[in-house]
Amino acid sequence: MSGLETLLAIAGLALITLLTRGFFLLPEREWPLPKWLHQGLHYAPLAALVAVVVPEVVMTQGELIATWRDARLYAAAAAVAWFYWRRNILGTIVVGTAVMLALRLGLGW
C-alpha cells in the first residue's frame, strides 16, 4: 500500500471502531432490545475475557498444545493461585509474567 492508501485504511479503521463501540450508544432514540438479552449481556464481558485468554494459554498456531513443557501453562496456574491467595491484580500480573519469563528464558520452554 502507498502511504496515502495506508492513511485511508487507518482512517477507515478509526471510523469502524468508533461506530462499533457506539453502535447502540450513538443513535438518538433507543433501539428496543428484549429484556432477556439485557439480562444475558451480564455474561458477555466474562465470556469475552475467557475467550481471549484460554486460546492464548492452551493453543499454538491454531492447535491445542501437546506438551506440558510450556511456560504459559505454569504462568497461568501461578497467576490463578496468586489471585486466590492475595486477591490482588497487580501482584497476579507480576507473578504470572515472572514465572513465564523464568521458564522461557531459563529452561527454554
Partner: protein
C-alpha cells in the same frame, strides 16, 4: 442535571482511575507489543503514531497490520475490522442504559475510549442497569488511565521497535492481566459454568476466520447463563 464539580475532581474519578491502575500494567504490555508490531510490519513512524491515536483498539490494529502489509484491498481490511470489533457492538448495548441520556458529543467521546477492560471494570462496579451521577466520573477515571498507559507504551514501542525482543513474550503480561480480571468476575456457580462454556467454545471455534470464535463464545455463554438463571441450578426463590 448540572455537575457541581468538574468530572476529574469527583471522588469517583479517582476511584475509577485507582481500580484501573492495577490492570493498566497488562494494558501497558499490550500497548508496547502493538507499537513494536506496527513498525515491524512496515508502517512508517508517523503512520504508526496516527494509527495508535486514531484507532485506539489493539485487536483491530493487530489484525489489520498483516493485511495492510500484504497490500490487501481496503474493503478486506475494513470488513476484517468490523468482524473483530463485533464484541464492541454487544458491549455498546450494555453502555446504553448508563449513558444513553447524555448529549451526542459526550457519547462520541465515550465511544472513542470504550475499550474492553473499561467495560468489564465498569460493569463490576455498577451491576444495576440504571444511570447515576457518579458513573460518568468513574468511567472517565478508568478511561484516562487506560488511554495514557496504552498510548505511552504504544509510542515507546514505535520508537524502540527493534530493541524489544518479541520472542520473550512480554505480551503474555496482558494475558495474565485478563486472567486476574476473569477470576475477579467468577462470583457464583452460574458464572463458573458460563466461563467454562465460553472457554471450550472459543477453543472449538478457533478455526473460524476473523476471530469470530469470540462472538461464538459470547453467544454460548450468554445462552447458558440465561438457561441456568431460569432455575436449572438455582432453587426457587434464588432467582434474581
Amino acid at each position: 442535571m448540572t455537575e457541581p464539580t468538574p468530572t476529574w475532581r469527583h471522588p469517583e474519578f479517582r476511584r475509577g482511575a485507582h481500580e484501573m491502575f492495577d490492570i493498566s500494567l497488562g494494558v501497558a504490555a499490550w500497548g508496547l507489543i502493538t507499537g513494536v508490531t506496527m513498525v515491524k510490519s512496515g508502517l512508517s513512524v508517523p503512520l504508526a503514531v496516527a494509527m495508535s491515536l486514531l484507532v485506539y483498539a489493539g485487536s483491530a490494529q493487530l489484525t489489520a497490520l498483516p493485511l495492510i502489509a500484504s497490500g490487501a484491498p481496503l474493503w478486506v481490511v475494513w470488513a476484517t475490522a468490523v468482524c473483530v470489533n463485533l464484541r464492541f457492538v454487544i458491549f455498546s448495548a450494555g453502555w446504553r442504559p448508563y449513558f444513553g441520556h447524555l448529549p451526542r458529543g459526550q457519547r462520541l467521546r465515550l465511544a472513542y475510549v470504550a475499550a474492553d477492560l473499561n467495560y468489564v471494570v465498569f460493569m463490576r462496579r455498577f451491576p444495576q442497569r440504571r444511570p447515576a451521577p457518579e458513573q460518568l466520573p468513574y468511567f472517565w477515571g478508568g478511561a484516562a488511565i487506560t488511554w495514557v498507559a496504552w498510548q505511552a507504551c504504544s509510542m515507546a514501542g514505535i520508537l524502540l521497535g527493534d530493541l524489544i525482543p518479541t520472542q520473550w513474550g512480554i505480551g503474555f503480561a496482558g494475558t495474565v492481566a485478563l486472567i486476574a480480571l476473569t477470576c475477579s468476575l467468577l462470583t457464583d456457580r452460574v458464572t463458573w459454568v458460563a466461563a467454562v462454556v465460553a472457554g471450550c467454545a472459543a477453543v472449538a471455534a478457533y478455526a473460524l476466520p476473523l476471530k469470530l470464535n469470540l462472538v461464538v463464545a459470547i453467544a454460548a455463554a450468554v445462552a447458558i447463563g440465561l438457561v441456568l438463571e431460569r432455575g436449572v441450578l438455582r432453587p426457587a426463590g434464588g432467582a434474581r
